[in-house]
């Protein structure tokens, strides 16, 4: 039986919590003006698709693929970006 569309959850989270390999779309960028502006100028604008490529050996910073290039971001700053998950690191079957 097909699950009704009303049950499809929209997972909204912050960029620092997206697992490595996960894809997400930017919903909005918060934070102080200078930080927010810098993140947007680098391409993290509303609707933009990003992919978390990897994390540094010590866990921080993370490397994102955005607008076709790689961007390193500290988790502390990534927390300001609210995103909607579009695919997890290991998307389970049938939840596309």
């Amino acid at each position: 039986m097909e699950p009704p569309s009303a049950l499809t959850t929209v997972i909204e989270t912050t960029l620092d919590l997206v697992p490595v390999g996960g894809r997400a779309a930017v919903v909005r960028v918060g934070g102080e003006k200078a930080v927010r502006l810098r993140l947007m100028e680098m391409g993290l604008v509303r609707g933009e698709q990003v992919r978390v490529q990897r994390a540094a050996p010590l866990g921080d910073p993370i490397a994102l693929r955005v607008k076709g290039y790689d961007l390193a971001l500290r988790r502390r700053d990534a927390r300001a970006v609210v995103v909607r998950m579009t695919a997890g690191a290991d998307a389970p079957d049938g939840t596309d």
Binding site: A34, R38, V45, L58, A63, K67, G68, A72, L73, R74
Partner: protein, 748 residues
């Protein structure tokens, strides 16, 4: 005098420097932007009978007013109003690159786009319709591959073409250059309405003289740009405009639920995105490039740090070991053949044995030698830096180390300067250039001298031999640890106090694709920076050498000028005057103070000075009539160079091997050790070991040599140099005090 001016703008890592070099040939000048620590390159281009003055603006991702580079770039564009702006754009990374381009096009016309790095774009499988792009941007687009020179002639022609078009009206104060803006970006109905009303109000206000730049100003005001607001607030009607813009932003926030600056940034990228979709054809699935594959290893969870350590070890070896033989050769040439020949020349001129000979040979010549001795070190440092930066590895190094450096409040890129500092502080200070923000550069530059440089090592070795005969190695190691510990503590303190305000900038760093550095770029970089050092820092070092020589030559009482033994000179007098300063630290003899003073010139000299002032050294200067002939000296120079080059070559394979410190301790005469022990016993009231330890700690932490101080001034400016000099002295003094007095208390 140039006919026209060109400014080169663009994102970092787009090959802008290569374009600059290609346009200006070899003719360029590197300095700093006035009052800032950001590099400024200028040059000239001669083309089709015209001369252009070219300025390379700092690489920026945008023209907002929040980073030093951006402020410099924007200020230049607004105030200098160059005739042509060349925006260098990375073809493989078009969307993000076009953000800056869009901002520039909104501001003015007279823009040429250099679509650079076509090879990288091809590697990604991208194909770009250049004509369509030019049409959409309203500006000529020239495809270039700057490394190979392809497209450069076409670029020059495009620049010339723009200059031929009639330029419009004249200078205006608060507004951007009067050349008409190239594009009109549609920000959406509501935003456009607000922009239009603001622009009309701006045009109507005569005091602001907005003219053609009204729309650009309106956009900036709506964005809440602090720099524009500051400029306008001083003008008639300015404050009212700022208030109107704030009200407009508020209306937009209510209507659209977003801040105005977000809406505008969004608007720009929407415009760019639509353009790129039309103009660029990309393969459906993103190709995995070689860069991706390399990164999988280099930033791998387990391999990342070992790779980093290997790279840093190699960097360190190159700057210390490989340059070592050449450094020694230069020192030997100055001490030997050059000094000899100068002496002979002066003798022939009848000035032999006079104070003038002393001035020339021991003052000026030694000073020049003292500067040139750093050339091999700096050349190798800049070689290493150029390779690391141009290849793209530096960003990965920062990526891997950032978490660790964050704890100290430093940037990931601080690791390399700190590491190089263990060899020599001078290149370490110059290595801070790799960091993008002034704050990180200065903070690192303040802490780097605490990484105990190689020249201080002989002092530890000597004193450890005197006071800790059985634990020498551990004590020396402890010194290094104390240095690192002090840097960490000081870093944390500075972060919370002096540098707290500058913390708001986020760590946002591009990881550019890996590229093979070109020999030409690397060599150019090495030459430009090293010659800068010789010119700027070199003069200071030379002056100080002469002054110090003069101090040793001026007799404090009787005795002739230029012929006094050290203990009777003004130098001893000055050192003597300084000794009470060291009384609480346990070593208030003029000999110890004197050694510390000479240590300001070069730390290597401390041990030699001690030997001299404690009278324990046998003079090794050959008598004047044994001066070798010109032929002998020439042969010395040549064979010495050959041997040095051979040693350098031999050191290269050793780069990969990790060897522990090769502390070269010369055989110290036991007479010196006895003398030191006796003197320190006296000055410390029977606590020689503690005094010795305090002395070592002082040497570890106090102001570095003249060359490092000169480098500090060259890189950071006089104010920070003095902060560093005095601060280090204070830190050294306090720590030594704690060691000596605290130790005495503990000893009971």
């Amino acid at each position: 005098m140039a006919d026209h001016t060109i400014a080169l703008a663009g994102n970092p890592n787009t090959g802008k420097s290569t374009v600059f070099n290609a346009l200006t040939g070899g003719r360029q000048h590197v300095g700093n932007w006035p009052g800032k620590t950001v590099a400024r390159k200028t040059g000239t281009l001669d083309h089709a009978g015209r001369r252009y003055a070219v300025v390379d603006l700092p690489g920026t991702y945008s023209l907002s007013a929040y980073s030093l580079e951006e402020i410099i770039a924007r200020q230049h564009l607004v105030e200098e109003r160059p005739d042509v702006v060349v925006v260098v754009v990375d073809a493989a990374n078009l969307e993000r690159n076009l953000y800056l381009t869009a901002q520039i096009l909104e501001m003015r016309g007279g823009v040429v786009i250099a679509l650079n790095m076509a090879d990288a774009a091809a590697a990604k499988g991208l194909s770009i319709d250049v004509e369509a792009l030019a049409r959409r941007l309203g500006a000529p687009v020239v495809e270039t591959t700057a490394r190979s020179g392809r497209g450069i002639e076409a670029l020059k022609a495009a620049i010339a073409g723009l200059v031929d078009e009639p330029l419009s009206a004249t200078a205006e104060q608060a507004a951007p250059p009067a050349t008409a803006p190239g594009v009109h970006i549609d920000y959406g109905t509501e935003v456009e309405a607000e922009i239009r009303s603001l622009a009309q109000a701006l045009e109507a206000e005569p005091g602001l003289r907005a003219g053609r730049g009204a729309r650009w100003l309106a956009v900036k005001l709506l964005e809440g740009d602090p720099d524009i607001a500051a400029r306008l607030s001083g003008l008639a009607g300015g404050a009212a405009m700022i208030a109107a813009a704030a009200a407009a932003a508020e209306r937009l926030r209510c209507a659209l639920g977003e801040d105005a600056d977000t809406l505008i940034a969004d608007g720009r990228y929407t415009w760019i995105h639509a353009m790129v979709r039309e103009v660029v054809q990309a393969p459906p699935i993103e190709r995995v490039t070689l860069s991706d594959r390399i990164d999988a290893v280099v930033t791998h969870r387990l391999l990342g740090i070992p790779v980093f350590l290997l790279a840093m070890a190699a960097a360190f070896r190159i700057t210390t070991d490989v340059s070592g033989p050449l450094l020694e050769w230069i020192a030997a040439v100055f001490d030997g053949p050059l000094a000899n020949q100068a002496t002979r020349l002066l003798e022939r001129a009848g000035l032999g044995g006079t104070w003038f000979q002393g001035l020339v040979v021991d003052g000026a010549l030694a000073g020049v030698g003292g500067v040139l001795v750093f050339v091999p070190v700096l050349l190798s440092l800049y070689f290493v830096l150029a390779v690391l930066e141009d290849s793209g590895y530096m960003a990965r190094a920062a990526f891997v180390m950032d978490r660790l450096m964050q704890g100290i409040g430093l940037h990931g890129k601080s690791f390399l300067p700190m590491l190089v500092g263990f060899g020599c502080t001078v290149p370490a200070i110059y290595a801070t250039r790799t960091m993008r923000t002034e704050r990180d550069r200065i903070l690192t530059g303040l802490l780097v001298p605490f990484m105990s440089c190689g020249a201080r090592l002989p002092v530890y070795v000597l004193f450890a031999a005197v006071f800790f005969p059985r634990h020498g190695g551990s004590i020396v190691f402890a010194m290094y640890l104390i240095g690192i510990g002090t840097a960490v503590v000081l870093g944390a303190l500075l972060n919370r106090s002096l540098f707290r305000a500058a913390r708001s900038a986020p760590f946002v760093m591009e990881l550019p694709p890996y590229r093979m550095p070109t020999a030409r770029a690397v060599l150019a970089h090495m030459w430009v920076r090293t010659s800068g050092f010789i010119r700027r820092a070199g003069t200071i070092i030379l002056v100080v050498s002469v002054v110090l020589w003069a101090l040793t030559a001026i007799p404090a009482g009787d005795g002739t000028f230029g012929d006094t033994p050290v203990e009777d000179s003004l130098f001893a007098g000055v050192a003597g005057a300084a000794t009470p300063l060291f009384a609480p630290l346990g070593f208030d003899s003029w000999q110890a103070a004197g050694a510390l003073v000479t240590g300001l010139l070069a730390k290597e000299v401390v041990v030699a000075t001690m030997a001299q002032v404690y009278g324990a050294e046998v003079a090794d200067e050959p008598p004047a009539d044994a001066t070798p002939g010109l032929v002998e000296d020439a042969r010395f120079v040549v064979t010495g160079l050959a041997r040095a080059l051979a040693d350098t070559a031999r050191a290269v394979p050793a780069i990969v091997g990790l060897r522990p410190f090769d502390g070269e301790a010369e055989e110290t005469p036991s007479a010196l050790k006895v003398a030191i022990h006796a003197d320190f016993s006296r000055s410390s009231d029977g606590h020689p070991t503690l005094a010795g330890l305090a002395f070592m700690v002082f040497v570890l932490l106090y102001t570095p040599c003249m060359a490092a101080v000169a480098a500090s001034r060259h890189e950071f400016g006089a104010r920070w140099m003095w902060t560093s000099v005095l601060g280090q002295f204070a830190v050294a003094w306090l720590t030594a005090l704690v060691v000596f007095q605290g130790g005495r208390l503990l000893a009971g």
